[in-house]
Symmetry: C2
Amino acid sequence: MKSVGIIVEYNPFHNGHKYHIQKAKETCNPDCIIAVMSGNFLQRGEPALLSKWSRAQMALLNGVDLLIELPYYYATQSANNFAYGSVTLLEKLGVEHLVFGSEDGNIESFLNSAKELDSIVFKNKDYSKSFPRSFLENTDPVEIDIGLPNNILGVQYVSNILKNNYNIKPLTIKREKANYHDQTFNDERIASATSIRNKILNSKGQSFERIFNYVPLNIKDLIINEKNNFKSWEDYFNLLKYRLVSSDINELSSIFLVEEGIEHRILKYISNSSSFSELITALKTKRYTWTRIQRTLLNILVNHKKHEIEDKSLSYARVLGFNNIGREYLNKNKKNIDIQVVTSPKNIQNRMLDLDLRASRVYCLGLNNPSGQELFEREFLPPIIIK
Amino acid sequence: MKSVGIIVEYNPFHNGHKYHIQKAKETCNPDCIIAVMSGNFLQRGEPALLSKWSRAQMALLNGVDLLIELPYYYATQSANNFAYGSVTLLEKLGVEHLVFGSEDGNIESFLNSAKELDSIVFKNKDYSKSFPRSFLENTDPVEIDIGLPNNILGVQYVSNILKNNYNIKPLTIKREKANYHDQTFNDERIASATSIRNKILNSKGQSFERIFNYVPLNIKDLIINEKNNFKSWEDYFNLLKYRLVSSDINELSSIFLVEEGIEHRILKYISNSSSFSELITALKTKRYTWTRIQRTLLNILVNHKKHEIEDKSLSYARVLGFNNIGREYLNKNKKNIDIQVVTSPKNIQNRMLDLDLRASRVYCLGLNNPSGQELFEREFLPPIIIK
């Protein structure tokens, strides 16, 4: 079976995502669409608006055939590591094409930029270092504008495919009508996930009817049913503060991404911060970007320690859901699938998977009970199955 | 100046406590009443219904002249360690008498029982071990009924005075009309703190007018003003659960009082517990008493590690409040006071005091803001001063 891979967050799913899937189908005419999706925490170092189960459901209702969770370890890192984890999972799942959205829209630009970067930056193959943005900005000639978030990710996808000699063929689709960072609605049917999220989070339980112009009709009820479970960093601020005020400096220093003494700055500002936005505003400097700080705080929240994941190889593909096509793909392509397919995390000994589960447990604590407890128990049930 | 020491929790202050203070004054005719009081967490391993500041205020309004905080390290341990910490503080503050309430009411019984126990149990002077209750119950002859909680504490106060050769003379007052464990009101003016607490916590924001029969009139407004800040373990359950689900087994094993593999039992039951009472009910066995489990969970909540307090000596007396008599005592008795008197914890390097502050910060997170933030900032303001 021919398959196309896509790499997604769906925070939340919207018409632009549907367009992406349709275009991928039109372009490659695959038998199966496989999505690798972040779990409950996202690449920018923040909790997903809705749990991975809700987002998987939305995806499966709108054209995705098989939904795989990108492990927390890769899902919450900077672009190059996020990309490495995502394309590696797709490669091991035997995917032929990767189709990604970008501001640029021309795959040649990405191939050129990636080769350029690859030859210089990736010689040392050290995936644990953050992508040096200042370097990127000064590289000449760079074919595409890597100041745009989807372009950055695109270059990293392509670069990781090239340097690892993966068999995946990358393709890109130009994002239409909405920019990643758009805060407001500029079009009738397409809006950025950021603007939809803002509308939902700012509604404070009031109507957010307007967002339904921008999402497929078939997920409207799902969003409405989850209206008490929309999550943002503020829902985790008390837990984060508790972690910080009850930790000593050595415990903080042992956390992944806590480097260059930022733990001292964090402890300095936490006492007088009464919200997440207050804390991060106080912490932000030229040296530390918002996203970098968010990722650092997220690892503190999840208690992800520096030396916890010694084996960084991707050895499992956690299935969150599938339809009949996805199931058939898993059954028929066994010889092309070079990874353990996990449909339940029970009884599996794997530290990277343990970290996924821990992150999920923490995410669940941000929901009120019984929703939080139910969501936690959901973790050990079979994947979502759509007819 | 002659002083009498009392050892209290005031959770909350009630008429029986007032009677205790009056009797201490009648019996010893002191110039000054010094109370050593637990901070925000109590001997049974639970958060105080009201913060130490509120409870200090209640005490100062009702006859206490100088209020000293018993460090968390001693305040939240079993009877012998609690007693050691308390009487040692009083000794270092130059107190002449200790007056404690008891079910028995006869100091000779306590002296005999304490000598008996002292000669057998305390030979090894290992204060870190819990008092062996099974041993107590089988000791013959024991003069008093040590199944009663105030008798247990009384024996330990006396025992610690004797074996450390302190200069304090112990006296006891028979507790009238209410037993420690009484769940309901049996008298018109005297009720146990337990029954008053239950009434308040079970009122769920509704009227708890009936408790005002049992507390001095001058603290009624204070209690009413604090009605949104009553705390119980349930208010800390989410933080505790977060700590547990985000810790690995080694981190849990390193916590003070986590012994004999109880960490495995706790991790087994936490996932499916949706309240503190559910968790502790699941954990309770013949081997682990309710109180012992509460203390263990409290140390997990506060992240108090086994080897954190290496120097167990009492080297500071944290003043929570005083009136003119208390102030005079501190000024005039300097030569009798064998301990650093601390009126603000700022800029003091002491690990036991750091632990007090950490416990207070955690306690504050159980309150909604702005109360929680204000309470946290209160920690660094001067003591309460009553004219």
